[in-house]
């Protein structure tokens, strides 16, 4: 098993006719035949991009094709609208890659999604991959391998780093999710941890956090309460100065809070293994897997 996406997932790409959308749709399709079955660009309905039919609206794409996941590449000014369009058309999983959506827009989007059954991953994220089953995002497929570890992260390339370290040690992954670097993410650490806990194939979890907010502290409390599988955590930004946004909109130490030190402390206090070095992610997961087997 894997979580959220697998070989049955049918994907519509919003923004398929754009440069990025077309490039990554191709890469997703090329990865173990991920079912990318439709695209949406308003005004370009009827076109084809690599045999993928383009529709004017998500509703049309859903009516014509077997679609349950949307992958969004539209620019930030239109992305909130695109998410709501996908949810309105009944798409159950929306993966939004777009970086730069205003925070107040995201608050409204999440309020609206809370009333329905659509889950959002991102924005400002690399997407989600269930190795050797389906890739719905911009991550390099080749570094992944099917196996027992669930990976969840607020980062993009640092996730690849963690996954690569696992794969090099022969440790595969059930599903890898980038929840994104924004202050208001669609899916949180807790949402993902709950899914990994329920997934029978997942035997351990690698959670990669960073400075800003309290998501890691909330995850620590949740893990202590609900997660019986071993969790290895890493928090990026121990050397980050206060008051500065470290690239990601959500990575900022504000009012003295959101430091890596506080987060590591909360994770350790909850009995979670914390890797000190970003070079030791794979090694640490390997160790906890051995201890539990």
């Amino acid at each position: 098993m894997s979580i959220l996406v697998n070989e049955d997932s049918g994907v519509v790409v919003q923004g398929l006719t754009g440069k990025e959308g077309a490039f990554h749709a191709r890469a997703c399709k090329a990865y173990h035949d991920t079912r990318v079955v439709a695209g949406v660009t308003p005004g370009k309905g009827g076109q084809l991009v690599d045999d993928i039919p383009v529709y004017n609206t998500v509703a049309e794409a859903v009516a014509e094709q077997r679609v349950n996941v949307s992958l969004i590449f539209v620019p930030p000014a239109f992305a909130a609208d695109a998410i709501l369009e996908a949810a309105g058309a009944g798409v159950v999983l929306v993966v939004c890659i777009t970086e730069g959506i205003p925070t107040l827009d995201m608050i409204r989007v999440k309020t609206s999604l809370a009333r329905g059954r659509t889950r959002l991953i991102g924005p400002n994220c690399p997407g989600i991959i269930s190795p050797e089953r389906a890739k719905i995002g911009i991550m390099p497929g080749a570094i992944h391998k099917r196996g027992p570890v669930g990976v969840v992260s607020r980062s993009g390339t640092l996730t690849y780093e963690g996954v690569d370290q696992l794969t090099r040690r022969g440790i595969g992954q059930t599903t890898c999710i980038g929840i994104g670097g924004d202050p208001i993410p669609g899916t949180t650490f807790i949402d993902t941890l709950a899914l990994f806990q329920k997934d029978p194939e997942t035997r351990a979890i690698l959670m990669i956090g960073e400075i800003g907010g309290t998501a890691e502290e909330e995850a620590a409390a949740f893990i202590k309460r609900e997660v019986t599988k071993p969790v290895v955590a890493f928090v990026a930004g121990r050397t980050a100065p206060p008051g500065k946004r470290m690239g990601h909109a959500g990575a900022i130490i504000a009012g003295g809070h959101g430091t890596a030190g506080e987060k590591v402390h909360a994770l350790l206090a909850a009995g979670i293994t914390v890797a000190d070095s970003p070079a030791a992610l794979g090694e640490t997961v390997e160790k906890v897997l051995k201890e539990r087997s």
């Binding site: 205003p102 608050i107 080749a142 980062s155 640092l158 890493f234």
Partner: protein, 388 residues
């Protein structure tokens, strides 16, 4: 994005929030003119993007226009050091001259995004004039909160609740409610990420006013606020960070001697961390962007090497979809173009890694090729002069 107090008060005034009468002065003569117009005792306030200005001597009272002029003369151009500026301080280039008021009580009022509840939250406290984080830590019972429903906005009853909670009565309650409602309008209208009135005061003549004002805007929303973008004061920002932002490079200057060039923000932070673990100090945070193209690498080299403290550079690129040989070609081209003399350690990961490493080794340039993050960090720290 941050703005000055006088700019924040201008925005508040437009939305019906009561603020003292006053204006901005760029010279002592202008400060005098404003004091004459205000006709009475004035306060001269240094305008810098940092709090705690009073403690550093950046807020002073003047009884006459002459006094305002001489205070302004002394303050303009001075380096103001406050608990928030760091020891190097900030040069004062603008002043706010406004009417001095006989205050009765000092309170706190703020509106922030609470990331845990994913809502805007209005915060009020009787303990004004102090850092709200300190109040929250020492006397949490003095913190009042009202969560804003995003589909309704702040409601009158919520504002009343806060006003009564602050111990206000009579006409002061409705004045405070008006300020709170106005504050929420400003928050929505400007896509603010933080709004603080500290202190919110009552005067002996029975009015409620915002005596200080701080607004931060959501950088992601600035595209739809061209008028707010005009308020940016570049003299308040680190010149290298401004230069980097022109090329969509995220750069933050730090105090170490190991320059970093990384693709992706999380990996960039982790790279800084591992430099520290190896006994060195990072000179900067730099996210060169997902692609790491030759142009971007060239720009990044220029920015990193403009910092005279940099003794060695670590390039850490997780190629991913971008092939390593292409990245390596870009790095070589950029280093040659910029004329890089500083030792550079390169760690490349992803497709065609070996081909990329070969290109670097055969370039004839001062590159050290590393395997993995740990090796890269150790090599670069040693090249920068060893552990500190």
């Amino acid at each position: 994005m941050k703005i000055h107090e006088y700019q924040a008060k201008g925005i508040l005034r437009q939305h019906g929030v009561a603020v003292p009468r006053g204006d901005v002065a760029y010279s002592a003569a202008e400060a005098r003119d404003i004091a004459v117009r205000l006709a009475g005792r004035v306060v001269v306030k240094a305008q810098i993007h940092a709090g705690g200005r009073g403690k550093g001597g950046g807020v002073k009272l003047a009884d006459t226009p002459d006094q305002a002029e001489s205070l302004a003369k002394a303050m303009l151009g001075m380096k103001l050091v406050t608990p928030q500026t760091g020891p190097e301080g900030k040069v004062v280039r603008r002043l706010l001259v406004e009417e001095a008021l006989e205050r009765d009580r000092e309170m706190y009022l703020g509106l922030v995004i609470d990331r845990a509840s994913e809502r805007a939250v209005m915060i009020a406290s009787k303990a004004g004039g102090m850092e709200i984080e300190e109040v929250a830590a020492a006397t949490p019972h003095l913190i009042l909160k009202e969560t804003v429903d995003p589909s309704l906005g702040l409601q009158q009853y919520q504002a009343r609740k806060l006003a009564f909670g602050l111990g206000l009565d009579g006409a002061l309650v409705s004045q405070a409610v008006k300020i709170m409602m106005g504050l929420h309008r400003v928050f929505e209208a400007t896509d603010a990420s933080l709004l603080e009135i500290n202190p919110l005061v009552t005067t002996t003549s029975g009015t409620v006013l915002a005596l200080d004002a701080k607004i931060n805007f959501d950088d992601n929303a600035l595209y739809r606020h061209p008028d707010l973008r005009e308020l940016r004061d570049l003299t308040e920002e680190e010149p290298l960070e401004i230069e980097a932002s022109k090329f969509s490079i995220n750069y933050i200057k730090l105090n170490g001697n190991v320059g970093c060039m990384v693709n992706g923000a999380g990996l960039a932070m982790a790279t800084m961390d591992i430099i520290k673990l190896a006994g060195g100090e990072p000179a900067n945070f730099l996210d060169v962007g997902g692609g790491a193209t030759a142009d971007q690498v060239t720009n990044a080299f220029r920015i990193i090497l403009s910092d005279p403290n940099v003794k060695a550079v670590l390039i850490n690129i997780f190629g991913g979809i971008m092939r390593c040989d292409i990245v390596a070609q870009g790095v070589v081209q950029a280093a040659a173009q910029v004329g890089v003399k500083t030792p550079v350690v390169v760690r490349l990961e992803g497709t065609n890694r070996e081909a990329g490493q070969k290109i670097l080794k055969e370039s004839g340039l001062n590159f050290t090729v590393a395997e993995g993050m740990k090796d890269a960090a150790e090599k670069v720290v040693s090249l920068a002069g060893g552990r500190r």
